[in-house]
Amino acid sequence: MTPLLQVKGLTKRYGARIGCQDVSFDLYPGEVMGIVGESGSGKSTLLNCLAGHLEADAGAVVFDTRADGPRDVRAMSEPERRMLARTDWAFVHQNPRDGLRMGVSAGGNVGERLMAVGARHYGNIRGQALDWLDRVEIAGDRIDDRPTAFSGGMQQRLQIARNLVTGPRLVFMDEPTGGLDVSVQARLLDLLRGLVREMGLSAVIVTHDLAVVRLLAHRLMVMKSGHVVEAGLTDQVLDDPQHGYTQLLVSSVLQA
């Protein structure tokens, strides 16, 4: 099987400082990869390099495109990359305000990606928006409300609906549960797990919350100071940590 995403030797430096260095991994269709580490360990930098928001200094990000098979995203032209970003890829920001248009109604937010790829039938766009609001457990009568009138958890669910409406194959998530209280987090995780399984999505999830990766991720990478210090199956890494930093990380979690 061809990996959906192959990352080889990805490096990003901020001047003399290291953002992330020499990161390599393969992601297969339907697989969820978790990236954990403390703040400043380079996990967000890595995610932004993968998604094309930041220009990496070295390495390759090879994506298995629908049309032409595996291609290096970094060598693509900008129109191709932006097209990829709004069709086969999705990016869920930590703060829903970064990923939503706050001045546009929920329906318009969900419909934007559809219209961006050429949907021109109002009734169909609205129908799909309603369907997706339902899937992320937002009541249909809120479709014309702006996200400013939504709670934090609803905004995050709306952002997920907006991203998944075009049926992407790869989703990047940057701390999708950050800033939500625990009960809302639990429901969101439940929802995400259902969607990932149902749609056969591949995902790269950056988080510092070990509970999130235990629930969602099949495989795990632990980062420290820009380097990947340990990688493997999620339960293997969490239950039998080998590297000193991973041991520290796992033992730092409070048992409720």
Binding site: R82, G108, G111, Y122, D144
Partner: protein
Amino acid sequence: MNDYNFAYLDEQTKRMIRRAILKALAVPGYQVPFASREMPMPYGWGTGGVQVSAACLVPEDRLKVIDQGADDTTNAVSIRRFFERTAGVATTGRTRDATLIQTRHRIPEEPLTRDQILVYQVPIPEPLRFLEPRETETRKMHSLEEYGLVHVKLYEDIARHGQIATSYAYPVKVEGRYVMDPSPIPKFDNPKLESAAVQLFGAGREQRIYALPPHCKVVSLDFEDHPFEASKADHACDLCGSATSYLDEVIVDDAGGRMFVCSDTDYCETRRDAGHLGRLSASGPVTTGQEDAA
């Protein structure tokens, strides 16, 4: 007349503006940056249109200036006098006699011919501005033809009002490529953008010129199930009886009395001279407060 160079601007400036105009005509709908000059009038009064007009005028031209369809309102009068003084060209109120027409907010009702130039005053040339505030981003969207956002605006209109409520500055797609703001003309005028005349758009404050060459294809954006509609008030002109021209609503007393008149004053006068009558034309001054609303 001798106090100014012909048509106020110096020759170097006119040359620069003409270059921008030629480029704009070559790439219909594309906004060409130009070095807009200070003009002896405030921004918002047509500084862009005046510069484009000045660069196009020749001594043989006959100039007409329209402000909201009328020839006799402040903006029209002051710009017409400006060119009478600085260029010494003949002026007219008649659409068919004019060779160059500068306009604000309207396209004349009478179809234009290939011998005419129509110059628009444009306040905000960027059709994506209120959707995406970053200029770097809107330029990228134009260059990559990413126009989904315009439809988000139209979607919001329908979601909120049940129909596309944008009634002026209605976005159009030019020759299947660039999305363009046709300046704040009513959407009733959008079909007239496909014209035999050269149409030039000048935005002074924003320093942009764009253009539509003759018979250029201009499509108003819409949804398949909510098609574009060139709407107007559902009345006939009370002075000349025209049922097809764009109408202004005028409040005539404090008891709910109102009348509808052609916004294009020249069109209305021409029809009245030809003997057409409207509902209020014979009865002299308007006094009634008892209009039947239909």
